[in-house]
Structures are given as structure tokens and as C-alpha cells.
Symmetry: C2
Subunit: 383 residues, 2 copies
Amino acid sequence: MKFTINRPAFIKYLSDVQRAISSRTTIPVLTGIKMVADKTGLMLSGSDSDISIEIFIPANDDINDLEILEEGGIVLPARIFNDIVRKMSDEKITIDVGENFQTNITSANASFKINSINVDNYPNFPMIDSNEVITLPTNLFKQVIQHTVIATSTQESRPILTGVNITIENNTLKAVATDSHRLSQRIIPITTPDNLRENSYKVIIPGKSLVELSRIVEDQDTIDMMVTENQVLFKAENLYFYSRLLEGYYPDTNRLIPTSSSTTLVMNAADLLQATDRASLLSHEGKNNVVKLSISADKVELSGNSPEIGTVEEELQYQEATGDPLVISFNPDYLKDALRTFGHQDVSVSFTAPIRPFTVVPLDDNTEIEQAFIQLITPVRTY
Amino acid sequence: MKFTINRPAFIKYLSDVQRAISSRTTIPVLTGIKMVADKTGLMLSGSDSDISIEIFIPANDDINDLEILEEGGIVLPARIFNDIVRKMSDEKITIDVGENFQTNITSANASFKINSINVDNYPNFPMIDSNEVITLPTNLFKQVIQHTVIATSTQESRPILTGVNITIENNTLKAVATDSHRLSQRIIPITTPDNLRENSYKVIIPGKSLVELSRIVEDQDTIDMMVTENQVLFKAENLYFYSRLLEGYYPDTNRLIPTSSSTTLVMNAADLLQATDRASLLSHEGKNNVVKLSISADKVELSGNSPEIGTVEEELQYQEATGDPLVISFNPDYLKDALRTFGHQDVSVSFTAPIRPFTVVPLDDNTEIEQAFIQLITPVRTY
């Protein structure tokens, strides 16, 4: 294998594939990056066995300036290869596999000779030869990821809760995540092709995989999703992103979302976020990470305290507070995560009782889908 | 004590004083920030007992908008106080010490009540009532710091080597640091007042203190230095920076600097830095962090290797290589640190023998002082 390529462009592709490569894997070959060149271009592959990323660089286009001089393949140690390419000085770089799997990397006057691995030793990625392709609007789907992964669990005690539960049916995609203390749900309209309109898909995708996907996918119109029994493939232009699926039964979350409320607060999400952030300064210092919200007819107050450090009180500036007076305590970090998903929108926060979950939804949701965007938080009993 | 102040300005001052405050101190009151207000302004103090920083904020100027409403003093927990001031929302903030050393911090609608400490419990800083004031050119002195601290030792086995040895005499300031593997020396001209012209000062200032000083001192013409037996005070406008001195005998470094050479290489410092950086990619992977420089009549080559990963070779682009052929091995990190102090200047690298230290000096040093700027590196014996 031998090729030359534009070095700055190559750096970008390598760092994208590197996202899938862990140095802590127990399978040595997976610390490497696989490169396979044929006359059409160069395929880069990396995997940590949870996610796998493949990027195809087409030959002879103007940006990459990729010239394939000899077909073939090799696996190079990923971290050091990345460093080498990054620290070269010339605009162009040449990769040339010599005898005994020794790879020459040259740019300007510098020349590296790196011990490499036979490409045949690299495991194959799953074959996802699916005729069932679901096309998703890229930017909206990235938003769905950002708005729901916040509620995935980081604890492996219930692995299923580390994923986002995605259901596709009736021309909608529904994403739900919960760590059992809070829940995030978004439903977006999608266009299902005619032949799949009767189908429904239910997959639980690890939150970590979705975060990596949303980081790596460029802004482009659509991304294709294909599902097999235990893998999902997202395919964008020249990018193949594989993730394993979580297996098991995802809890029924519909019954958790309250359908009525007795107290409602309407205010700007960013203002409430800042106040919660201030109140959490002291709750973070104490043993109980809890702040208190008091809603009465003419006053809404947020407070926090730490026995060692002191107390904080803040009267909130709100648009509307209606319904029964209420005092409720909760983990401020859950509310902060939830509020960040609304940016500077006005939100409606709805309560039923001090010991029942409360919800945050956008005041104007611009959609006819019910419960299209909900953040739910379980309060803390403080007495 | 009660005052109001412009919050963004206050944040800047607090973070400067915070540099001296460690949360890991064994003296609880030193985790606090001391504030003392009188009608002329507000003094902020912080200390980790190695360095102490005092900043005076004058009352009634336009930028700080400081209004002293009641004189007095208090010690507040520094980290949380910083966070609170930073996370408030209003342009203005009010600090008001109430009963039982409880301090009220208010801005817009948010109000914190923080447990504080009687200001009398804060230790006094050393009195440096010196008539012997040495005035240093600020920017040049910051450069001296940056160019020498790189060679201070980070190991406490020989504490004296963690400092920079500063000698002031004959209208010059000489700074030397060495960790016994490499040495940095800079000598700058200074203007000594008439009454001190016969005096000489020798102090060993901890490298860490000098780094903090150079970070905190704003760009201004001059900074004053005052020395007592075991402390040094640097005084800039409204800033007092105290550091302890290291006590003991600093080794005589003059005899370490070679006065002749048999091989000289002239090249651009930045180019040599980049090549050394590349060669170090592989030396970092091996057990011996060593690269090899080969100078012959018509070729200068830098190489590195790691038995596991591979090898690197680079032919250097130089201006001039004169004298005897030479092969020398050294720690590339020492050379990288040294070369960074020269920016994009051309440097002259002078060798006497493969087992003797070599020096890097600027090709044009623009000064009549001898040995004004030297980086010295001890090679590694590889056979």
C-alpha cells in the first residue's frame, strides 16, 4: 500500500476515527487504525468494540488530494500515528508499507519507520445489509440526542438505563432516557419510506455511542439509520458509524409522565438555570444536594443551604405562577441539566405534589405531537 | 464592614488573589480571603505561606466603582466566595458583614449569608520596611523568569535547585537555574539607585513563586523589589507579592559553562524545535528518552527510536555547521524547553565533546554583556 494525501485534511479524518479507538482495550489490534487503499480511495477504520467508525476518503478530489500509488492495507498504532501526522511540517504526507509490515511515513525531510500489523488480523465489522433504511433529519436528530442523553444513567448497575430508548413508528421517532431519578423525552416527525410504513423499530442505543455520533456527524441534511439484531449503523456521506445495541427490556415510561398538574410556573429557562446554579453553590457543599422551591400567590423563591457555609435565598422573576401554593425540594443538578436543553426559551414547569415528579416543557412547542419535549424530575423527600 | 463594587472588576481581583490561596493548606484560616475596608479603599489578601498576594482597590474610581459604606474587615472562605461573586447576575455586588461574623452577599435578587472568620485570626504578613528598593523593568524581568524557570528542579531532594538564583550587582541582574541536567542563565542591565550602587544582593527565589508573579503582574513599566532576610516583596501598582526565599548555598554555576567549542551548528530555533519534537515522539515511547544528533561536514541529522514502535530520521535544514564531526545523544525534552525560549530567532548550538555539556545561545544577542543568555544541556552517555 502506498499513497500521498493532504496532511491537514488527513489529520481531521484521523482524529474522527480516533474517537472510536481506546488505548485501554484488551484486544491489542484495536489500539490500531486500519487503512485499506484501493483505486477508488482510502478507508480508515477504528473500533473499541462498542462503537466502530469507518471513514472513506475518495481518491483524486481537490480537498484531500489523495493519490493511491499502490493498493493494499495495514494496521498502524493509532495514537502514535496520529501524533506523527500532526507533527509533520509539510502540506503533503506519504504513507508507504514496506517489507515485514514496516510502514514508512514521510513528509518534508522527516521519515518515520513504524512497526505495523497485518491488516488480516483486524476483526471484521458486522455486515448490515439492510434494505430497511430510515432517513433522519441530521440536525434535528442531533438535538434529540443532546436533549435526552442527559437523563441516561452512568451507573452500570442497570445497564439498560445507560441507553436511549428509541421507537420509530407512525412517521415519528420517539427517544426516551431515564436514570430513574429524571426522564427526558423527545418525539420528532420523520418521513418513513412507503415499504416500511407498517413496520416499527425499537432499539436501545448506548448514550455514549449517541454522544460520539452527534460529535462526529457534520452538518448535512440527512443521515441514514439501519438496524440489525444487535447493531445499528448510521451512515452519512463517507461516514459509517456502528454501535452495539443494549439488549433487554426497557421500562414502560409512559405511565411515569403526569397528565395533570395543580401548580404551574412559567418563566425563562435561562433565568431559572442561573438561579438554580447559584442555589446549588451551597447545596453542593452540604451532604444533601437539595434546593427548595417555594411557590405562593405572590412570590416564588428558590433557596439552598449548607450547615457549614451558610444559606442562599433568591426571589425569582417569573411570567406566571398559578395554582396551589407549593414547597418542593429537588436535586438542583437535575434541573440544571434539564433547563440547559431549552436555551433561552420560556418554559412551563408543572407540579402536582411535593412528592410527585414535576415536568418542564417548552411554553410554545411548535408541534402537534403530544408530549413532544418533556424533561421530568423526581423531587427529594426532605422530612 | 460594608461596601459595593463593580462585579466584573471584583471578579478579576479575586481571581488574582486566589492564585496564592491553596485549598490543601493545613492552616484553615489560609483557605480564606481576607478583606479589609477603610475609607481609602479595600485590601484583599491571600496566602499559602509560600507566597502571599495583596491587592488594594482604591475607593471611588470609575472602573471599580467601589463605595465603602462601613469600615472593617472579615475573612471569607475563598473558593466559595469566588464562585458566588462569579455566578451573580447584576453589574453591582454588595458585601455586608452582619452579626456573629455572618457576611451577606447580595446582587440583584439573590442573597447569600456566609459563615465567616474574625479578621483578627488571620496571620500578619512580614513587615518589609526596606529603604533598599530595586526597580526592575517589568517586561524584561518577566522574560528573565520565563527563560530560566524551565531549568529549575521539580524534585524536592535538593530544595535549593527548585529556585532561581538571582544576583544583583554592578547594575546587572543575573538569573541562573539548574536541575543539574541543564542550566539556564540570563543577565540583564538594570539601573541601581545611587545609594545602593555599592551593594550586592543574592537571593534564591522559588521557581513556583516567580511563575505566579509573572502571571499576575500586568504590563507596566517597572516593578519594585525589596529583600529582607527570608522574604522578597515585589510591588507593582496596587499589588504586593511576597515570596519566601530558599535558604542555603547555591552551587557555583560559572564553572559549568564551557568557554570554547569544537563544533557549532547555526539554525532557526523554531525549526530545530519542531524536528526535536518529532524525534521525541519515538524516544518518549521507549525506556530511554534519548535522541541522537549527528553533525558531519555536509549533513546534520536528528534521529530517535523506540524498539517497539520504530525509528525516525530527519535531515535538518541549517544555516551553518562548522568544526569537528560529532555524534551526541541527549534528552529531547531539555532541548525543546531550551529552544522555546528563543522563539523564531536563529541560535548557535556549540559542542565540545559527546560527553560534555553543549550550549544554545542567540546568534545575535544585542547586548554587550557576556553570557547574557545561555541554555546549557548535559548529554546522555549511550554506550
